[in-house]
């Protein structure tokens, strides 16, 4: 993986140089084909990347590169996965193509070839590339705007109303102490009755699926009585955010992080500040490299907490052809 990681790098470099030189063929491969110097350069990079890996960093984390990027909406090339798929295909050539599991596994490869029109055009025109960059930036700006600090509300109404407004605005739900859950109704609106609960603390927040990010947490951290926080399937919650939850350490008892695509074991390690935690849901985190081991280590770190999720057997997933045999085994015994 490292090998490809490095070898990819020199190619876009030549774009800048060839901008004036070859207007008709922008693709780096075309340029490389003509030019023996670049060919040798690429070869050099190939060889150098092969010899490079050992000295500086002895441990390369292989698995964490395969995550999807929700921000850009593109899929990363799952290089390792692809290789193993090829192997499987070689063995199962012919009749077994229609096996359901295999068909599902092959699908991402097909997706890679499919491009949107803009993606296709960006390969030919720089202006389209700039346009896409601009759209990307716009998307990020929007996210920041959604998550900006609501200081003006906080001044007038206090931290609880601010937190509630922020979460409801993003589409989540809140519960004030001894009150009912407040959610959006079917038309995407929420009642403003909660404005009278200025002195009532919030005890539960359900932000599942919300676009909350690091800056947005500013509005949640002053909720000192928060007992339950659910951040399920939040696409922008990452390790940096988890590191920020320590002001809630005194009250927080329940935390759910299930399905967050950006949370890895590195962020989970920083939850050791939350010693009052009673229940922690860390199931289905794609960026965690060893879910089973991570769960054991987290349980060690938070001895009073029930850690749910990550099935330890998840690590022991077998190749598709082995699975039926394994399933068959328990039946006779």
């Amino acid at each position: 993986q490292l090998h490809i990681h490095l070898a990819q790098v020199p190619l876009p470099a030549e774009r800048g140089c060839h901008r004036h030189a070859t207007p008709e063929g922008k693709g780096p491969l075309q340029d490389l084909g003509e030019n023996p110097v670049f060919q040798s350069l690429v070869l050099y990079f190939h060889s150098s990347s092969l010899t490079f890996s050992p000295p500086p960093r002895p441990i390369w984390d292989l698995s964490s590169d395969c995550s999807e990027c929700p921000l850009v909406g593109l899929e990363r090339k799952n290089i390792l996965g692809e290789q193993s798929l090829h192997l499987v295909a070689a063995i199962w050539n012919g009749s077994t193509r229609s096996i359901h599991g295999l068909g599902g596994a092959v699908a991402p490869e097909g997706n890679q070839k499919k491009k949107t029109l803009l993606q296709f055009l960006a390969g030919y025109f720089y202006d389209v590339e700039y346009l896409r960059e601009y759209l990307l930036q716009n998307q990020m700006l929007l996210l920041h705007k959604k998550n900006r600090s609501l200081a003006h509300i906080s001044e007038n109404y206090g931290p609880y109303i601010t937190g509630a407004f922020f979460i409801l605005h993003l589409g989540g739900a809140v519960r004030f102490q001894n009150k009912e859950w407040i959610r959006l109704n079917k038309r995407g609106q929420f009642p403003l009755e909660f404005l009278k609960f200025q002195k009532v603390p919030i005890e539960a927040v359900d932000a599942s699926g919300c676009d909350i990010n690091y800056e947005g947490l500013d509005n949640l951290l002053p909720l000192k009585e928060l007992q339950s926080l659910s951040l399920q399937r939040c696409p922008y919650v990452d390790d940096w955010c988890l590191n920020r939850l320590y002001p809630l350490a005194n009250s927080l008892q329940e935390l759910s992080l299930a399905g967050c695509p950006r949370i890895s074991e590195r962020g989970l390690a920083s939850l050791h500040h939350l010693q009052n935690l009673r229940r922690l849901d860390i199931s289905d985190l794609p960026a965690v490299s060893n879910p089973g081991l991570t769960q054991i280590l987290v349980e060690e770190m938070l001895p009073n907490c029930k850690v749910v999720g990550a099935d330890w057997a998840q690590d022991l997933k077998l190749e598709p052809e082995d699975q039926p045999q394994d399933r068959a085994n328990p039946v006779p015994t």
Partner: protein
């Protein structure tokens, strides 16, 4: 085909401008070679079109003229390039060339570092730089996003630094933490009692006070930052070149300062870039040179004539940056600290952190001035671990009494012997050489901030985001030390 014929035909007209492999002599009298090259220059300026040469392929050479030449393609140099391109007024306004000697970065400090980031410094400037860098790294996929490329995975471990102080250093630590809090860093002080409760695996004997970073501190993958910057900078149209800067050609003019002394003002107008593994070189005309060569920036400064003069004058003041070798050891200890272990830095100067989930740890120690190893090569002295690193660590963390060293490596610090702080901004006499070097081991974590500061200095003429005017070169001449106390 027709186009190619046309090009060949057109090219013949330009034959005079063909640059051949020849070493130009610069004598006092213009000889034949000199005349010819003058003539070529004239022809080239008259003829329309770019530097295209159908007969002699020069695409592997750096461009003949650039606005800014950055010497050193490590994380600092790339960060300067990134901010220059980012802050330029119009897209493509500045041509930037990054010259890097070794594209595998086998000896570069960037890849060999432990990759820590902390705000626990004693100088406000350093704290601000680190805070800025933390926010940069947090949003790294916004800053360094390249269309159609996969997002970067920085592998940031947000576990903080835990600095321990003995009875003697407790007061200083308290003062430092006060400064850090003023600057906005989230650092808390811990008593030995609290420390025992929080991290039961630490032996608190001899510890009077501990400071622990709650936010924005930890360690990350430096290689990822380097590759991300490289990728982004390349997509922004920065030129890269694998080569070595061998010579600066500068003009100098004699001037008198207010007290009547004569000073030599210099201006670099050409940089000779020697290609890797060949005698071929390319003179690059430039307006600015940025010295980001890390541990070797002292040599680069000397090439530009800095420090060549009578002692005690501004001309004779050298750039006090030299390479220092630091060892990093990786060991395995099954009973070692668990998942929550921060980067612990003992009062003796030894430090360690967790690496991965398999009970592996990385650590080392800065040697004292007397036991400084020879920085000529990157060989590891395993005796140093036995004698200097292991005893204090085993005393601090009893579990480390049984451990097995798995591997070790060495890397360079760009060590500023004057006050262990960075050098930023222009040289007072060589007017168009800017520095971004000398950070003595915390250059990686401050690179985004320093890059921005240097770019602002170049483009605007003054610092805008973070005021780094105390890091100017002139402090070496004036003898004003701004000491950084916390060097790990």
């Amino acid at each position: 085909m027709f186009r190619r014929m046309l090009r060949l035909g057109w090219g013949r007209g330009q034959d005079l401008s063909v640059r051949r492999l020849s070493i130009r002599k610069r004598g006092s009298t213009l000889d034949w070679n000199g005349r010819v090259s003058e003539f070529k220059k004239k022809i080239r300026s008259i003829l329309p079109g770019e530097d295209r040469n159908p007969l002699y392929d020069t695409s592997h050479l750096p461009p003949e003229r650039c606005d800014v030449v950055i010497v050193g393609g490590g994380v600092l140099g790339l960060s300067v390039a990134y901010w220059l391109k980012k802050l330029e007024k119009r897209q493509g306004a500045i041509r930037v060339l990054v010259v890097e000697r070794d594209h595998t970065y086998s000896q570069a400090s960037t890849g060999l570092s432990v990759g820590g980031i902390r705000q626990q410094f004693s100088l406000p400037e350093n704290i601000q730089l680190s805070l800025f860098s933390a926010s940069f790294l947090r949003n790294i996929n916004e800053h360094l996003a390249v269309v159609d490329d996969p997002p970067l995975d920085l592998k940031f471990n947000p576990l903080g630094y835990l600095l321990l102080a003995s009875e003697k250093g407790a007061a200083t630590m308290e003062n430092n933490v006060k400064v850090q809090r003023q600057e906005g860093a989230k650092v808390c002080l811990m008593s030995p009692e609290q420390l025992r409760n929080k991290f039961p695996w630490i032996n608190t004997e001899g510890v009077a006070l501990a400071s622990y970073g709650m936010e924005n501190e930890g360690w990350f993958d430096p290689w990822c930052l380097l590759q991300g910057l490289r990728r982004k900078v390349q997509s922004m149209g920065v030129f890269f070149c694998q080569g070595e800067v061998t010579r600066f050609i500068s003009s100098s003019s004699s001037m008198k300062n207010t007290s009547g002394e004569e000073v030599n003002l210099k201006r670099i107008y050409e940089v000779h870039v020697k290609m890797d593994h060949s005698l071929e070189y390319q003179p690059v005309e430039c307006a600015l040179v940025i010295n980001a060569a890390g541990a070797w920036s002292g040599q680069i400064a000397e090439l530009a004539g800095i420090g060549k003069g009578p002692l005690g004058t501004l001309q004779g003041t050298k750039l006090p940056v030299e390479p220092r070798k630091r060892y990093v050891y990786l060991w395995h200890c099954p009973q070692g600290p668990g998942l929550e272990a921060p980067l612990v830095s003992d009062s003796s100067g030894a430090y360690f952190r967790r690496e991965g989930l398999g009970n592996n740890y990385i650590g080392g120690r800065s040697p004292t001035e007397e036991e400084e190893p020879d920085p000529k090569n990157l060989e590891v002295d395993h005796g140093f671990f036995q004698d200097k690193v292991w005893p204090p660590l085993a005393q601090r963390v009893p579990a480390f009494e049984t451990l097995k060293v798995r591997s070790a490596w060495a890397g360079y610090y760009d060590y500023n012997t004057f006050d262990q702080n960075g050098v930023v901004g222009p040289h007072p006499l060589v007017m168009n050489m800017y520095f971004a070097t000398g950070f003595s081991g915390h250059g990686l974590q401050q690179a985004p901030g320093v890059g921005r500061a240097v770019a602002e200095m170049v483009l605007e003429g003054h610092f805008q985001t973070i005021d780094l005017s105390s890091f100017f070169f002139s402090r070496f001449y004036l003898g004003e030390k701004i000491q950084e106390h916390i060097i790990i």
